[in-house]
Symmetry: C2
Subunit: 346 residues, 2 copies
C-alpha cells in the first residue's frame, strides 16, 4: 500500500465516460486524505480511431505501463467494425500487460432483481484465464469471401499459463470459508486443452488438501448457473468459457449493471486494469440511465489490488446498503454515484 | 414417406437403455399398422469398450449407413476416460454421417418447472452446426505432461459448411410464423471465423427478405436466454456455442429431461440420428427415475424427418397433454412411456 496512486483512466466509448466519472468520484471520496491520487485520462476508443485510425499506439502503451493501475469504462461502438477496438485496444492491453487473472465476482445483492425464481443465494467468483485460449488472435482466413473460404481460430493453452491461473484460483478458494473450487472446461471434446487443464488442476490441487474440487463441462455448468447457482464458490476456467459464464452470472445476479471485473497481473510486473463487465451500451449513452455500480465495484477491486482492503470493503458495503434501500424509483448515473460517494465518505 | 422403417438403435450407456426402450414403445404405438418397423440394436458404448477396446469399428459404421435413421440413448460413463466415447463414437457418427444440422427445439411446455421467475413464453429452435468449429478434433499437445506443454484446439470453419447450415436456418425461420433468425457468434474476438459467419449470414439473408435477422455475441445471448427468452425464434450458431446454449435452453425450459435433438443430414446421403440432449446420468441409471420424454420427443423429430409429420405432431401433442396433467407425483420411466404410448395410440 503506497501513499500515492498514479491511475490511468480510459473512459472509452458509449457510457464509458459517464460510469468512469462516478467511479472516480467514489474513489476520491473513499481514499484517506494523505493518499495522493493522480489520474491521467487516455483518449482511446471509437472516436480516436475515427479521427486517427489508431487503436493503441506503442507510445501510449509504453506510458500506460508506468501507472499503478488502469480504470477502464467500456470499449466498442457500432460505427467501428466488430473486432477492431476489441482486439486492437481492449485485448491488446490484457495481453500486453499479461493480465492472466480475469477476476469476476458474482453476488446476488439484497433487493436486486434476478430472473431466477426463488432467489437462490449466489456468491461466487469466476477466475477466468486472461491471456490464452481462443483469445490469442491466432487463426486466419484463406480465400476470404469466396465459396471456398476456410477460417480457423486456434486456442492456445500452455502449462505455464494454465498452472498460474489454476494456482491463483486455489489460493482464492483456500481463503474463502467454503473452500470449494470448480474447474469448468469441455474435456470430452476439446481433449488436448481439456486434459491438460484437468491434469494441472488435479496436480496443483494436491498442494491444497483443504479445498474441495469438482469438474463440470461448460454446457452443464450453464445449467447449474440457473438451477443451482448456490453450489458454486470459486470457478476457474478458460478465457472463452469465462467470458460466456460471467455474462450469464451477471444476468442471474441482477444484471450486467452490477458486474465488476479486474484484469490482474498479480506479479506486479505491469499495471492491472479494472472495468465493468458491461459494454459501451451506445443505445443509452448520454441519457443518464447507465448504472455506474459495476464500475464502482470495479474500483473496489482496484483498491483491494493496491492494498487498500479497508477502502475496498467500504465501497462494497456501501453498494450493499444502497441496493438494500433502492425502492425502484429511477436514479440517474450521477445520482447513484453521489449516493455511493456520500456513503463511503461517511 | 416409406412404408417401412429400418431403424438402428444405439441405447449406449447409463439411462440410455431405459429411455430408448420407452422411445421405441411410443414409436411402435404411433406408427400406422401398415408401416413395417424393423429395428436393430447396436451394442456400443462403455461396456463394449471395456470388453473389446472398440468404440465404433468400421464394419459397424458401414452397417449403420444402411438404416433409415438412428435412435441413440446416451453415451458416456465415468469409468471411461473423458473423450474416448464422445470422440470415438458419438462425434464419429455425427462426422461420418455429415450431420451438419444439429436441431434442438426449446419450448416451455405448460405445467413444467422453469427456474425463471414469471414463466416467460419460450418457443425457439437452435440450429447448431454439427460438423465443424472446435469439434473437428484438430489440435494437439506438445511436451504433454511437462511444465512446457502446449495444447492447441483448432476451430475449422468453411464457407461450404457455414452456408449450408445458415441456409437451413433461414428456411426454418421462413416457415415459422414469426420469421425471425438470430446469428450467435463471437465475431468481436474470433474475427476470422466470426466475420465469415456474419458475411455468409448477411449474404444468404438477401434471399429471404421476409426473415427478420439479428446478431448477438454468445456471451450476450446467454443473458437474453434468462432475461428475455421470448425474443428468440430461430437461432443459428456454431458447434460449440450451440452446445453451450442448448444446455442453457434446456435448463430454462424445464430441464434436460425434456430436450430433444436431431443430428440431421438433410441431403439423405446418410442416416440422421436422433437423441435426447441429456447424457447418460449414471447416478440414476437403473433406478427408474430417468424421464424418457426427451427421447420420445426425439422420436417425434425422427418421424418428422422421415416424412411422418402427422405422427410427429401426435407425439408432441401427447407430451403437451401429459405434462399439463402431471401433478408432481413420481412416475417411473416406464410409467411415463406407457402413458405417452397410450395417448398416441388413442
Ligand atoms: C468486448 C470483449 C472483447 C470482451 C471479452 O470477450 O473478453 C467482453 O465480452 C468481456 O467479457 O470483457
Ligand atoms: C457428449 C458431448 C460430446 C455432446 C456435445 O458436446 O456435442 C453433448 O454435450 C451434446 O450436446 O450432444
Amino acid at each position: 500500500m503506497s501513499t500515492s496512486i498514479n491511475l490511468a483512466v480510459i473512459p472509452g466509448d458509449g457510457i464509458g465516460q459517464e460510469v468512469v466519472a462516478q467511479g472516480l468520484k467514489v474513489l476520491t471520496a473513499v481514499l484517506p486524505q494523505d493518499v495522493k491520487l493522480e489520474t491521467k485520462q487516455y483518449d482511446l476508443g471509437a472516436q480516436r480511431w475515427h479521427r486517427t485510425g489508431e487503436t493503441l499506439p506503442e507510445a501510449e502503451l509504453e506510458e500506460l505501463k508506468h501507472h499503478d493501475a488502469i480504470l477502464l469504462g467500456a470499449i466498442g461502438d457500432p460505427s467501428v467494425p466488430s473486432g477492431v477496438l476489441e482486439r486492437g485496444l481492449l485485448l491488446k492491453l490484457r495481453f500486453a500487460f499479461d493480465h492472466f487473472i480475469n477476476l469476476r465476482p458474482s453476488k446476488l445483492f439484497p433487493n436486486t432483481a434476478t430472473p431466477l425464481a426463488g432467489r437462490p443465494e449466489i456468491d461466487f467468483v469466476v477466475v477466468r484465464e486472461g491471456t490464452e485460449g481462443p483469445y490469442t488472435g491466432n487463426g486466419g482466413s484463406l480465400r476470404t469471401g469466396t465459396p471456398a473460404e476456410v477460417a480457423t481460430e486456434v486456442s492456445i493453452n500452455t502449462a505455464y499459463g494454465v498452472e498460474r491461473v489454476v494456482r491463483d484460483a486455489y489460493e482464492r478458494a483456500n481463503a474463502r470459508p467454503r473452500k470449494k473450487l470448480t474447474l469448468v472446461h469441455k474435456n470430452n471434446v476439446l481433449v488436448y486443452a481439456g486434459h491438460m487443464w484437468k491434469n494441472i488442476f488435479d496436480k496443483v490441487g494436491q498442494e491444497y488438501p483443504e479445498v474441495t474440487t469438482d469438474y463440470l463441462h461448460v454446457d452443464a455448468a450453464t445449467i447449474f448457473f440457473v438451477t443451482q447457482p448456490e453450489r458454486f464458490d470459486v470457478i476457474v476456467t478458460d478465457n472463452l468459457f469465462g467470458d460466456i459464464l460471467t455474462d450469464l452470472a451477471a444476468a442471474v445476479t441482477g444484471g450486467i449493471g452490477l458486474a465488476a471485473s479486474g484484469n490482474i497481473n498479480p506479479t506486479g510486473a505491469f499495471p492491472s486494469m479494472f472495468e465493468p463487465v458491461h459494454g459501451s451500451a451506445p443505445d443509452i449513452a448520454g441519457t443518464g440511465k447507465a448504472d455506474p455500480t459495476a464500475t464502482i465495484l470495479s474500483v473496489a477491486l482496484l483498491l483491494r489490488h493496491l492494498g487498500y482492503e479497508a477502502q475496498a470493503v467500504r465501497i462494497e458495503d456501501a453498494v450493499s446498503a444502497d441496493l438494500a434501500e433502492r425502492d425502484g424509483t429511477f436514479r440517474s448515473t450521477d445520482a447513484i454515484g453521489d449516493a455511493l460517494a456520500a456513503r463511503v465518505a461517511g
